[in-house]
């Protein structure tokens, strides 16, 4: 009997055979991986989710065959660079993480693909009912159209030192008035202990934090007519309270703090209370960076006496660059659907992205075991407001105007009324 092994193949036949096998394998691979050969480039904010997105890239390639390159940059660079790319109609990025407050500019200038039809088409796959309505609306939509799709939602919460509150016999504040009083009680400069900390640094940092407190005290950046109302009596009053908090209860250097400085101050144990995005909460129980492990409680943010409870919602949507070709757009949409799918988004959060946005995540045993503050986030989302920072095209300029005005008030250079009068005059010129 002739054995197969006895056949001698010529060298050319061997090479051809091997090539044929390789081709068949590639074809099979291509059929299995619909996006094989595609490379997606993503411009990401350097929040916690940035590193997790990069970590998930191999998994996405495994699932679809597409390479995902994640470029992580700070807030200012991300805004400047992506805007320049959009204006120049370059195709530098296929996907861009879009801050909630950029939605107006994206919509007006058509920077990103309108995802509305795709969202409708793939509604079942996206399991939209499982995502909080406030997140769908404020992190993705503008004027009813999806300029991006939400993937990283944050809840504004109150982080407080349980040990200090218990020692002082204080309850967690429910109203802003209680919060101011508690902050004063818990301040003792001789012990380097301060009752409160917030962003004071000129620019986006102080503007965003003040807008949050302002909203909770009943103030509003825009009037009912959609025009700036920066110097309304409510806003002036809330700015005076913010100044009082800084002068009497905040660490001396807080006027220079941005988000990082504020969080650091709290983790070092200098401040007893602060309002913050939920994304930072896991850091308080990390002994590598925190001096207050096991001493921190998370509660819903206080609101002004008589003000309806509405809590700040922020975060990021994923936008697809309108300049890239249709094939890239489709691939980018596949990535978004993959990222926000229940199992991957759970993994995304388990890995530390801090970007909870699905109702099912709030009761997920694995997530709850790791993040016990999820019920607070759920309450915040159920009563969430994503528009306390107006998501209009003029937002960046308004934020800068307020960033200068509020910082000037905190430094004592000008009184709240005068600062907001000048800010109002500047803001009106934008419209």
């Amino acid at each position: 009997m002739t054995k197969i092994a006895n056949f001698r193949l010529s060298k050319t036949t061997s090479v051809l055979g091997a090539s044929l096998l390789a081709l068949m394998a590639t074809t099979a691979y291509g059929q299995d991986k619909p996006l094989a050969g595609v490379t997606l480039t993503l411009a990401s904010q350097n929040d916690q989710f940035g590193a997790v997105l990069a970590k998930l890239a191999p998994e996405f390639k495994e699932a679809t065959g597409a390479d995902l390159k994640v470029e992580i940059m700070d807030y200012g660079t991300l805004l400047t660079k992506t805007t320049a790319y959009f204006v120049g109609d370059t195709k530098g990025y296929d996907l861009v993480t879009m801050d909630i407050v950029w939605a107006g500019a994206y919509a007006e200038n058509k920077y990103s693909v309108d995802l509305t039809d795709w969202v409708k088409r793939d509604a079942a796959e996206l399991e939209l009912d499982d995502i909080y309505p406030v997140i769908l609306e404020s992190l993705g939509q503008y004027d009813g159209k999806y300029v991006a799709f939400p993937f990283a939602a944050y809840a504004n919460v109150l982080a407080y030192r349980k040990d200090l509150f218990e020692a002082a016999g204080l309850d967690v504040p429910k109203t802003m008035e209680e919060m101011v009083a508690d902050a004063k009680t818990l301040t003792d400069p001789a012990k380097n202990q301060y009752g409160f900390v917030a962003n004071g640094q000129m620019g986006a940092a102080v503007a965003q934090d003040w807008m949050q407190y302002n909203s909770q005290m009943g103030g509003s950046i825009l009037g009912a007519d959609g025009m700036p109302a920066l110097n309304s009596p409510e806003n002036v009053k809330s700015l005076a309270v913010y100044k009082e908090l800084f002068a009497d209860t905040a660490p001396p250097g807080a006027i220079e703090y941005d988000w990082g400085g504020r969080e650091e101050s709290f983790r070092q144990g200098i401040a007893a209370m602060m309002q913050t995005w939920s994304v930072g909460a896991p850091g308080y129980s990390d002994p590598a960076i925190s001096n207050v492990v096991g001493k921190v409680g998370i509660a819903t943010a206080p609101v002004g006496d008589g003000v309806a409870p509405e809590y700040g919602v922020g975060g990021w949507g994923m936008a697809i660059n309108a300049d890239v070709d249709a094939k890239q757009q489709e691939a980018a949409w596949t990535f978004i659907k993959w990222l926000v799918s229940k199992p991957i988004h759970k993994e995304f959060n388990m890995d530390g992205a801090g970007s909870f946005m699905r109702k099912s995540q709030m009761t997920d045993p694995d997530l709850l075991a790791k993040f016990d503050f999820l019920p607070v986030i759920a309450t915040t989302y159920e009563n969430g407001n994503g528009d306390y920072r107006p998501r209009i095209p003029e937002y960046p300029e308004i934020q800068d105007i307020l960033g200068s005005a509020v910082n000037a008030v905190l430094s004592g250079a000008v009184e709240p009324q005068a600062a907001l009068d000048e800010a109002q005059a500047k803001a009106e010129e934008l419209f």
Partner: protein, 321 residues
């Protein structure tokens, strides 16, 4: 049959007039053409990266032109320039820039000259001291700003914490108070650039003719007389060079201000470049940012001219030429 001359030499055919191409070239013409040809790439480079953007910036400054609102682009004449002088923040930025430049460069000239005089004598110690003194000038201003911000912070700063605890300066830190912030930035600039000023002036001192100084000494001139009547007049070109270089640089201050105060509080440290960068790169307000840039160029040109005139007048008065 072709026409020949009596000498049998074929006469030169009448060449049609083709302009400068056909003109017979002398040696000087050829050399000039060659030099022009050699310089052409550099000239082209300057035109593309220097002159063209400058011209574009000048043109844009007459438009309301925002990259993120292109539909609202409109020719508005001098309105951008008028808006600069009407805006309190921009006016403050102009004043701050002048205050920063004049004070900072003035202090640097004084202390730089003192340092240069101290280091004039050629000795090993002086050479080593000069090398150490130049270290600040080798650090990029952005990093210098970050270092001082960290040092002066009221909560964690090595200097700021103790100053705040000792009750010296504002409780929130020297960089956060409208009364002290600009002065701190001026001192930071002096810390960084005084050694460079000293180096330029030292080079001038080293090149002074020794015989003139010796003659002054032999004639019984005191040290002060030698300084005011010999050294200072001879140093005028070096002083002019140092002043022009530092003035132009100080007037464009950006990095250290941007990372320490961002122009605040209440525009107390805002400068023209910080304003231009914010308008141009943060808000993409190209028309307005171009106008700020053009005004900055104009101010720098004016200051350089004034400096030149002052030095020339001083030269005439002292040296009589």
């Amino acid at each position: 049959m072709s026409q020949t001359s009596s000498t049998g030499v074929q006469p030169r055919a009448q060449t049609p007039r083709l302009g400068w191409l056909s003109r017979p070239r002398s040696f000087t013409d050829s050399r000039r053409f060659f030099l022009f040809f050699m310089a052409a790439p550099a000239v082209l480079y300057v035109l593309v990266v220097g002159v063209w953007p400058l011209a574009q910036g000048f043109w844009y400054s007459f438009f309301r032109y925002n990259l993120i609102r292109p539909a609202r682009t409109k020719f508005i004449g001098l309105d951008n320039y008028i808006a600069i002088f009407e805006d309190r923040g921009a006016r403050q930025a102009i004043l701050n820039t002048f205050q920063f430049t004049l004070t900072s460069v003035g202090l640097q000239l004084f202390f730089g000259f003192c340092l240069a005089l101290l280091l004039w004598r050629d000795s090993r110690f002086n050479r080593i001291a000069l090398a150490f003194l130049l270290i600040p000038a080798t650090i990029t201003p952005l990093v210098v700003g970050l270092i001082y911000k960290a040092l002066l912070g009221a909560d964690y700063g090595l200097i700021g914490y103790y100053l705040a605890n000792a009750g010296i300066g504002p409780r929130t830190g020297l960089l956060t108070d409208a009364g002290t912030a600009l002065w701190v930035l001026i001192l930071i600039d002096c810390w960084e650039w005084t050694p460079l000023m000293a180096l330029i002036l030292l080079a001038g001192l080293k090149s002074l003719p020794a015989d003139v100084l010796e003659a002054g000494r032999a004639d019984g001139a005191t040290a002060w007389q030698r300084f005011t009547m010999i050294v200072l007049p001879l140093m005028l070109p070096s002083i002019f060079l140092a002043l022009v270089l530092r003035t132009m640089d100080a007037f464009r201050v950006f990095d250290s201000v941007f990372v320490t105060t961002g122009g605040g509080p209440n525009d107390a440290t805002n400068t023209l470049m910080v304003l231009a960068v914010k308008e141009g790169l943060q808000f993409f307000n190209i028309g307005y940012a171009s106008a700020i840039g053009n005004i900055t160029i104009l101010f720098i040109a004016c200051m350089a001219t004034v400096l030149l005139l002052v030095v020339r007048r001083a030269d005439v008065r002292i040296n009589g030429k």
